[in-house]
């Protein structure tokens, strides 16, 4: 395929993905917005008012970046895992596999679908957040960079999960038992400075800590961790996830017999 044909194939996959999550917006866009709004109301406004300052900011201002990032991560991941597993389950993934579309175009088309949903939900949540906190972005470049990288990383992770999934149960295991605990323990609701030394050290092993704090640094200008290290870690995970996803597509593992 020449470059024009590859672009048409990519935009077809992407528009199909966007149409899918827009068509079922009651399942894809509304629930995360309601959930995060409840976090704003309960943790930020009601309980947060009694907690006082954290990291030099009101508790509401402190949790907003983490909650936005949580929405981006979970939505990027769940969009790709449910869409691609659905295509596998109904076998219409074969439409792509029999076509001349190169594997990297297939992967980027699906991943960008996840990125679009992650960013759209993140944007809606951000707009909602402005009703609760005085949001300002200290470093727009860092904020956009980290949100894009994170969205790509978790879309890739969702793709890998979808390839290995054999049932709809399998696509909910990772979000429920891995992603959610790591996000909650990744400093969304607290600063690691509050933790005992041992647990603060253990938290350094949680990749979500770097993502949440890098985003918080972009928005508020404060962070518990080294930003350069955070960017390197996210980039490293992204390269590994992309390479593995391409390996799965090229080998046809769990996609071709």
């Amino acid at each position: 395929m020449n470059l024009t044909e590859q672009w048409i194939a990519f935009s077809t996959i992407l528009s199909r993905e966007i149409k899918r999550f827009m068509r079922i917006w009651m399942q894809t866009l509304l629930p995360p917005v309601i959930t995060i709004t409840l976090y704003f109301i309960i943790f930020g406004s009601l309980i947060g008012a009694r907690i006082g300052e954290m990291g030099g900011f009101s508790y509401m201002e402190f949790v907003v970046p983490g909650l936005i990032m949580m929405a981006v991560i979970t939505n990027s991941y769940s969009n790709v895992v449910s869409s691609f597993y659905g295509a596998k389950f109904q076998r219409f993934v074969e439409e792509l596999l029999v076509s001349p579309t190169p594997n990297y175009i297939v992967l980027w088309g699906v991943v960008m679908g996840g990125v679009c949903r992650g960013l759209l939900v993140g944007l809606i949540v951000t707009i909602v957040a402005t009703f609760f906190a005085d949001l300002r972005v200290e470093s727009p470049l860092l904020t956009i960079t980290i949100v894009l990288m994170t969205s790509v990383l978790f879309s890739l992770a969702g793709f890998i999960n979808a390839v290995f999934a054999n049932s709809f149960d399998d696509i909910s295991i990772v979000p429920t038992f891995v992603l959610t605990p790591l996000i909650y323990l990744g400093g969304v609701f607290y600063s690691t400075e509050l933790l005992p030394e041992f647990w603060a050290g253990v938290s350094q092993l949680n990749p979500m800590l770097y993502i949440v704090n890098a985003f918080r640094h972009g928005v508020l200008g404060v962070s518990d961790i080294n930003i350069e290290l955070a960017l390197i870690i996210v980039a490293g995970f992204t390269v590994v996830a992309y390479s593995y996803a391409m390996h799965l597509l090229n080998s046809g593992k769990r996609l071709r017999q």
Binding site: K19, Q90, E95, Q257
Partner: protein, 306 residues
């Protein structure tokens, strides 16, 4: 003549150790209407799966119009359209969207994709259903949708894996007519089917695959000539009390107005009619007791595997 499909020493062993293909060879010429037949589990769908990249081969070589499916897969895939045995489209999408998306995967610009979608949906009687979620289509409509989808990039080689399974006879005949039309316009067609009368009436050449090996690969005419005898059912206008004695022919009385006659390859129907006329037996109609290809097929696949 250009070779549309070349298969050399194609083999496939699945992870569970089952050897589905044991090094098969065959060719399909451009413009052919080719039947790939075999009993369930013979290796037909595995062969088709390998050709269209849904199954990884264990060994051998496949070329589509000279393009190797491994080293030149984009070009090989562009030549190829596939209608699989099972429905494999998004049930939540509409037929028009399914076709436009499929065109996009082949790099076809949106405007051309829309034009072709309209053409093929109209051609296959689905235009009125273009905005109906595909899960609401009947079985026959779903089959036609898959044919339209396979044709959207106008492939030179169309492979149909049991396209008329579960389709009523009227719809089956209209699909036959459509396939004959596109074959006449130059599309090479490979058909697998369990309806042997379908293969006999549509296909010029045939390969029969059994236990992962090619049991027969020849022209339909040559294959049918291998039939040593045929059994004809003859309805007569004269009421018969017993089977007529027809010199050289085995004849059985089915009922008072029906007889079954065995005609050897060396005999002709003219001889039979002459003998019936001599006995003032007037023939009302004549038909084969079983499909001719079916008789040969049963004989070929009944042979023990190599």
């Amino acid at each position: 003549m250009t070779v549309a499909l070349s298969i050399k020493q194609l083999s496939k062993t699945y992870n569970n150790g089952f050897q589905a293909l044991k090094g098969i060879d065959f060719e399909v010429k451009e413009g052919d209407f080719f039947a790939l037949l075999g009993p369930n589990g013979a290796g037909k769908s595995t062969t088709i799966g390998i050709i269209c990249s849904l199954v990884n081969k264990t060994g051998g070589q496949v070329e589509v119009f000279g393009y190797d499916i491994d080293s030149d897969f984009p070009m090989a895939k562009k030549q190829l359209g596939v209608v699989p045995q099972e429905f494999n489209f998004n049930n939540f999408e509409k037929p028009l969207d399914i076709l436009i998306h499929q065109a996009g995967y082949y790099g076809i610009p949106r405007k051309l994709a829309e034009e072709r979608s309209e053409f093929y949906l109209k051609k296959l009687g689905l235009w009125d259903k273009r905005d109906t979620p595909s899960r609401n289509l009947s079985g026959g409509m779903k089959r036609r949708l898959m044919i339209a989808r396979a044709l959207i990039h106008e492939p030179k080689l169309l492979i149909l894996d049991e396209p008329t399974a579960g389709v009523d006879i009227e719809m089956r005949r209209s699909m036959w007519a459509f396939l004959q039309e596109i074959n006449a316009q130059g599309t090479t067609i490979i058909l697998t089917t369990h309806y042997l009368e379908e293969a006999e009436s549509l296909c010029k050449n045939i390969a029969i695959i059994n236990h992962g090996v090619i049991a027969e690969n020849t022209s339909m005419r040559t294959l049918l000539q291998k039939l040593h005898q045929m059994v004809f059912v003859i309805d007569v206008k004269t009421s018969l009390e017993h089977a007529p004695v027809l010199s050289g022919f085995d004849c059985v009385l089915v009922d008072k107005q029906t007889i079954e006659v065995v005609v050897q390859q060396s005999q002709s129907l003219n001889e039979l009619f002459a003998l019936l006329s001599e006995q003032q037996i007037e023939v009302a109609s004549l038909r084969n007791k079983t499909n001719r290809l079916e008789e040969l097929f049963v004989d070929l696949v009944a042979k023990p595997s190599a």
